[in-house]
């Protein structure tokens, strides 16, 4: 089968890597560095990348079985049940929107650093409004534009990192000794957040005719992210004092100012803008489509499936997510607790990967004969290892680190917020969804079937 418009490999990679490389990634990069000694964060970042590759194998097997953009919900439903799928998909989308809120806050900080006279609230409101309007208007980065922005970003970050290292004479402090094992493991756990989004390559399975591009795309995205983050992290910590970098939401701006002066701030403003655009582009748009689909499936109120009369975009779903992202941005603005979102994001990614690994194992038992264009080699070994590793990392995200006692309150806040969010979604799935579905079934039953009945037709509506 051939399609007139097909997504090439480079775009599959740029989509996954571009979404994960958000402005908030610089902040979380420093969070990783704060757990380890000297300039050794690159080891934790690469380790998190290697573990992410194992997780990508699980996604590849499942997406091969169910090649649809609704994949995550579908294969969890097939492996477990619909309620589990709705809860997890709901949590995943909620966290994605929380990350959009955090991204807005961090980007506003960058703007404020570049234009100090303007209040941050103005930037938060302006950024979210522009993004919402772009989404409602249906303006997207696609194809070549997506490739150009993503690869420009990666090439620039790699070039700046190498320049910074060259400028410092490659003088690194204990680059091969991460320090305490516990600190290193926590760095890997938080490092998982850096790769948040690489699996968003999977919806592209509907836009490619060669399935192999999806596993290859995930591998390419994780590889590109791992190398870029690792190099950038070492460049930052070897240029500016780590304590200073870890105490600000905009470490990359301090780093660029140190190397290039005021020009560096302008450069990082541009980089942040590009990074955020790709994140918003893929994140908010995909999330709004998912909310629309759930509304059409009567798992969310029908009002959320309203479409714009001219642009055919789900404006009600976009506004709904805009409000959530805005609330999150405001909450971070008022509390300054941006790290809460980093801990939550890392935890949700860990939960997702554990469930995905278990889904692989469950579906091998439930549907042994189903066609699998990609099957993870080595039997159950890799899915079991993925489930165990991410299960352990999930716990580590919330364990207070003695060398970073200042993070404990935010770790606790992240845990409480995550539990409350999960409980809220579960309550809605168990109590709200059945009511919506019952009302819908009653309306459907009252509606006359349009399809003409054939003499031998015995099928019911």
């Amino acid at each position: 089968m051939k399609l007139r418009r097909q997504v090439p490999r480079r775009t599959v990679i740029s989509s996954g890597a571009g979404l994960a490389l958000a402005t908030v990634a610089y902040t979380s990069n420093m969070q990783v560095a704060s757990y380890v000694a000297g300039d050794s964060a690159w080891i934790a970042i690469l380790t998190a990348g290697i573990i992410s590759i194992f997780a990508s194998f699980c996604f590849s097997e499942l997406v091969g079985m169910y090649p649809t953009a609704a994949g995550i919900k579908l294969f969890i439903e097939k492996a477990f049940n619909e309620r589990a799928a709705l809860i997890l998909a709901g949590l995943y989308v909620t966290i994605s929107v929380f990350v959009v809120g955090a991204e807005t806050y961090i980007l506003s900080n960058v703007f404020q650093a570049a234009v100090p006279g303007v209040p941050m609230l103005f930037w938060i409101f302006l950024i979210l409004t522009i993004i919402a309007l772009m989404n409602i208007r249906g303006i997207t980065l696609a194809g070549n534009a997506q490739d150009l922005t993503a690869y420009f970003m990666f090439a620039s970050l790699l070039a700046v990192s190498l320049y910074a290292l060259f400028r410092g004479g490659f003088a690194l402090e204990s680059p091969l000794q991460p320090g305490e094992p516990m600190g290193f493991l926590q760095a890997v756990a938080v490092g998982i957040f850096l790769y948040l989004g690489f699996e968003w390559v999977t919806p592209l399975v509907e836009e490619v005719t060669d399935f192999k591009l999806i596993p290859q795309g995930m591998l390419g995205a994780v590889g590109l992210l791992a190398v870029t983050y690792a190099l950038f992290s070492v460049a930052m910590t070897s240029t500016v004092a780590k304590e200073l970098l870890a105490s600000t939401p905009i470490p990359h701006v301090l780093f660029a100012r140190e190397i290039f002066g005021p020009v560096g701030v302008g450069f990082m403003l541009l980089m942040s803008l590009v990074a955020s655009i790709t994140t918003f582009n893929a994140g908010l748009m995909t999330a709004s489509r998912f909310v629309y689909a759930l509304s059409r499936d009567r798992a969310l109120p029908v009002a959320l499936s309203r479409l714009h009369p001219s642009y055919a975009t789900p404006w009600a779903a976009i506004l709904f997510l805009f409000l959530i992202a805005g609330t999150v941005s405001m909450a971070i603005y008022l509390t300054g607790a941006y790290k809460v979102l980093i801990f939550m994001g890392a935890a949700v990614e860990c939960i997702l990967y554990v469930v995905v690994a278990l889904a692989v194992l469950n579906l091998r038992r439930r549907e042994p004969g189903r066609e699998r264009p990609f099957r993870i080699p080595g039997g159950p070994t890799i899915p079991v290892v993925v489930a165990l590793i991410y299960g352990a990392l999930l716990l580590l995200v919330f364990v207070p680190d003695p060398s970073n006692p200042g993070d404990a309150p935010e770790q606790l806040a992240a845990l409480v917020t995550l539990v409350l969010t999960l409980a809220g979604i579960a309550l809605y799935v168990f109590l709200g969804v059945p009511r919506l579905r019952a009302a819908y079934a009653a309306r459907r039953a009252a509606r006359r079937r349009r399809r003409p009945r054939r003499p031998k037709d015995t099928s019911a509506n």
Binding site: L3, R4, D297, H308, P309
Partner: protein
């Protein structure tokens, strides 16, 4: 199992419903696509041409290279074109498979939602 004739009849009705809906025509005015519908149980293929939101032709057979490929059972295809089925529900359960961009998938579902909002 729906026959090819039944699906074509449903497609012709779908064409009338779409083309007579002014709201839909305005919404899809920039949308020009060629769609293939594949009935996976019978192997029948149907082609639909949409030009600037107007369905200009429908029929049995495979014409040209598609922008969108929809695969489902012949019964589901027939019910979908008559407006007796919510395509989103089938899509989310993996019973209707689509090869297209995310925007096109949504526009395809939007057609049913605009014509038959109660589905």
């Amino acid at each position: 199992m729906a026959t090819s004739e039944e699906i074509v009849e449903a497609l012709l009705d779908y064409q009338v419903q779409c083309n007579n809906n002014q709201r839909l025509r305005r919404m899809q005015r920039d949308w020009t696509r060629r769609l293939h519908f594949i009935a996976e149980d019978t192997g029948d293929v149907f082609t639909m041409e949409v030009v600037r939101g107007e369905i200009v032709s429908v029929g049995a057979g495979r014409w040209g290279e598609p922008d969108i490929v929809v695969t489902a059972s012949s019964e589901d295809l027939c019910d979908m074109f008559w407006g007796d089925l919510n395509p989103s529900q089938k899509y989310l359960r993996g019973e209707i498979k689509v090869k297209a961009s995310q925007e096109d998938v949504m526009r395809l579902d939007a057609i049913t939602m605009i014509i038959w909002p109660e589905t």
